[in-house]
């Protein structure tokens, strides 16, 4: 039987990891990921999680040790955040290229400098090209569920790709919520033991992580072609999980009141909760607004975005990041998909929440108003900063 527990996002991750029973955990502490690895350490100590916990000396080593363990066929887990993710970034394409299904939690936190502790998405979005599946969570429950789904998705022989489960630092990692904890037996039925031929084997020795000068291109074409099939596996696992545990997340993208929407706002992560409330309020006032919760950034939900874009008059993309010298990274991704349409809707890129700057209901309402005015034919700045303390003169 499942039970209700009152936990933070970090603790929800730890509970999910205990349920997933990885063989090896290697992690290096970084705020705001720490509570997750502390709880996991407690579970290893008290014997409720029978795993090897490696105290590594850096994030680079955390990912490298996880790779070593994955290379002998072990189920692995690691967790990081911000600078830590960038420090291990060298190893991310190593892991994805070798097709090791490592699951990692990333507590989204801004990058130095200036130093800041709070959440934005510059860390994980800088790693979009690393070959990892990336999912973004809205609350602690979704985070717990996605850690469990991540193993099922990554270890699927059709996928064999590592997966990064992102949750906003502090907003999710340190905020307490009621979370439904599935029963171990149910999880065991959902998540079978990991077996693979892609491993070093004493009875059938082989080499992994080798050099492939002449076949390099074909290896990566295979990786890309496999990744294109991942959305269907994600949908399949989402259905399976929902049937078993009663929670469905709509796969790649959740569309909230989008069916008849004139304008939609695309969000990632916890800010979706705020936007949901604003959409409800504005709907009551008669505005045809909708919300697109972009759950996966890789693989990118091209089909879903095309479908939505073909139906609306304006799309706003809320980026908690910026690719300095261009625009928000999510916006770039949405834009390149929308460019496939013969007539594309109006688009505005809202840059907000950098360094954890608040994005209020009023700010969100302001974004929808800009989109509604754009849909009515008014001219708008393409890139707008939200809740900034200085003027932007584009």
């Amino acid at each position: 039987m499942s039970k209700k527990i009152f936990v933070s996002g970090d603790e929800a991750v730890a509970e999910a990891v205990r349920l997933a029973k990885p063989h090896v955990i290697s992690a290096y502490p970084i705020t705001p990921q720490t509570v997750a690895v502390e709880r996991i350490s407690d579970f290893v100590e008290d014997g409720t999680l029978k795993a090897e916990y490696l105290h590594v000396e850096s994030e680079h080593s955390a990912m490298s040790a996880a790779m070593g363990a994955a290379a002998v066929g072990a189920r692995t887990f690691t967790a990081t955040s911000s600078q830590g993710l960038l420090y291990m970034s060298e190893v991310l394409p190593y892991v994805s290229g070798a097709r090791f299904p490592i699951v990692m939690m990333n507590a989204n936190r801004t990058l130095a400098t200036p130093w800041a502790l709070l959440s934005d998405h510059r860390d994980s979005l800088s790693q979009l090209d690393s070959g990892w599946i990336q999912v973004y969570c809205e609350d602690a429950q979704e985070t717990l569920d996605m850690i469990l789904q991540a193993y099922r998705i990554s270890e699927d022989p059709r996928v064999m790709a590592p997966m990064m489960v992102n949750l906003d630092g502090f907003v999710l990692t340190h905020t307490y919520e009621m979370v439904e904890l599935p029963a171990q037996a149910e999880v065991d039925a959902f998540l079978p033991a990991y077996t693979t031929i892609n491993r070093m084997d004493l009875d059938d020795p082989k080499t992994v992580c080798y050099a492939a000068m002449n076949d390099y291109m074909e290896f990566h074409m295979k990786q890309e072609l496999d990744m294109r099939k991942v959305p269907s596996v994600i949908e399949e696992v989402d259905r399976l999980y929902g049937d078993k545990f009663g929670r469905y997340y709509d796969g790649m993208v959740e569309q909230y009141l989008c069916d008849d929407a004139e304008v939609v706002l695309v969000t990632l992560g916890s800010v979706t909760g705020t936007a949901r409330v604003v959409v409800d309020a504005m709907r009551k006032e008669g505005h045809k607004v909708g919300l697109v919760k972009l759950r996966y950034m890789r693989p990118f939900p091209r089909e879903e975005i095309l479908d939505i874009a073909s139906r609306v008059r304006a799309i706003g993309v809320l980026d908690k990041d910026i690719s300095v010298g261009y625009e928000g990274i999510v916006f770039t991704n949405v834009n390149s998909t929308v460019a496939d349409l013969e007539t594309s809707p109006g688009r505005i890129n809202f840059i907000g929440g950098l360094g954890g700057r608040n994005i209020s209901k009023e700010n969100t309402r302001g974004m929808f108003n800009e989109l509604l005015e754009l849909a009515r034919g008014e001219k708008k700045e393409k890139i707008q900063f939200v809740n900034a303390r200085c003027e932007y003169h584009g």
Binding site: G68, V72, E90
Partner: protein, 300 residues
């Protein structure tokens, strides 16, 4: 498996676990790997970071290892070895070895953090540093183990500098300072000693470290048939030494009655050919200080 100590060629298997590679003729590093693998045997997991040995042996589809093997990130040999060991342990595997072969740069420079972490965890892994005293794979650049006076492509000897201006980083004692269970220096010029040390490492229940001098004909500039001789002479002239660290004690394994000619050793190598008498005095002074410390503080 190395149930008993391997001390000479008669104890070695005829099986080869590392062959068909593309190393230069006269490569000392490949000899270090080949001999170590003969001691460790078929149930061995190998991890090698960026270095000559991975460059010449991991080219798909022509892999030169018949055992399990992988390339590790350059900086992370120690961490990958730990991961393999932890995974194998967690999966209940029995009767196997986990060994890494990193070069001098991969050990003393970019990989020192991960090596330190691995020793600190005490994982049952064997870390072999094959030391050819520069980044040979990338074209003979200076590493932290390049000796004083060695001309490399990034420490060129010229009118103003004698080549490298620093002594070799003291990896053996840095490793020993971790209170490691077993550490040893070796040279491919003394293969029996090296084989014995690899087999001791294989029996070690915790982390072990072997630092083997592996002369490089290409990078040092000597004839390809002289590799083993150079490895021997380095020890005989006192610029390298054969020692062990065990139970918290240093022990010298070979005490030359008198040193062979240091000048002869250096002048045989293109990388040292420019050295002046003054440079020779610097090198000799450093050697003598080191040996005085060894005589005074180690079991000799």
């Amino acid at each position: 498996m190395a149930d008993k100590l391997v001390t000479n060629a008669r104890d070695l298997t005829n099986s080869e676990y590392f062959y068909g590679h593309r190393a230069c003729a006269g490569c000392g590093g490949s000899l270090a790997l080949r001999l170590a693998m003969k001691v460790l045997g078929p149930r061995t997991f190998v991890a090698i970071p960026a270095n000559c040995m991975s460059a010449v042996s991991f080219l798909h589809p022509q892999i030169s290892f018949s055992t399990n093997s992988m390339i590790s990130p350059f900086a992370a040999t120690g961490a990958v070895l730990s991961g393999i060991e932890a995974g194998a342990r967690a999966l209940g595997m029995k009767d196997y070895h986990v060994v890494g072969f990193a070069g001098d740069g991969g050990t003393a420079d970019i990989g020192i953090q991960a090596l330190s972490g691995a020793i600190d965890r005490g994982d049952r892994i064997i870390y072999v540093c094959y030391d050819n005293e520069a980044y040979m794979n990338t074209g003979i650049q200076k590493s932290g183990l390049t000796p004083y006076g060695s001309s490399t492509t990034t420490s060129p000897a010229g009118r103003n500098l004698p080549g490298a201006t620093r002594m070799k980083k003291n990896m053996f004692e840095i490793v020993a300072a971790h209170d490691i269970a077993y550490a040893a220096t070796a040279s491919i010029g003394y293969p029996e000693d090296y084989l014995r040390k690899i087999s001791k490492a294989a029996q070690c229940a915790s982390t072990s470290y072997i630092h083997v001098l592996a002369p490089c004909s290409t990078g040092w500039g000597f004839p390809i048939e002289k590799t083993v001789e150079m490895g021997k002479e380095a020890v005989d002239c006192g610029l390298w030494y054969l020692a062990e660290f065990e139970n918290g004690e240093f022990r010298l394994n070979r005490k030359p009655r008198e040193f062979s000619s240091l000048e002869d050793y250096l002048k045989k190598q293109a990388r040292f050919r420019h050295l002046t008498d003054k440079d020779m005095d610097v090198i000799k002074g450093n050697r003598d200080r080191k040996w005085k410390k060894i005589q005074d503080q180690w079991t000799v």
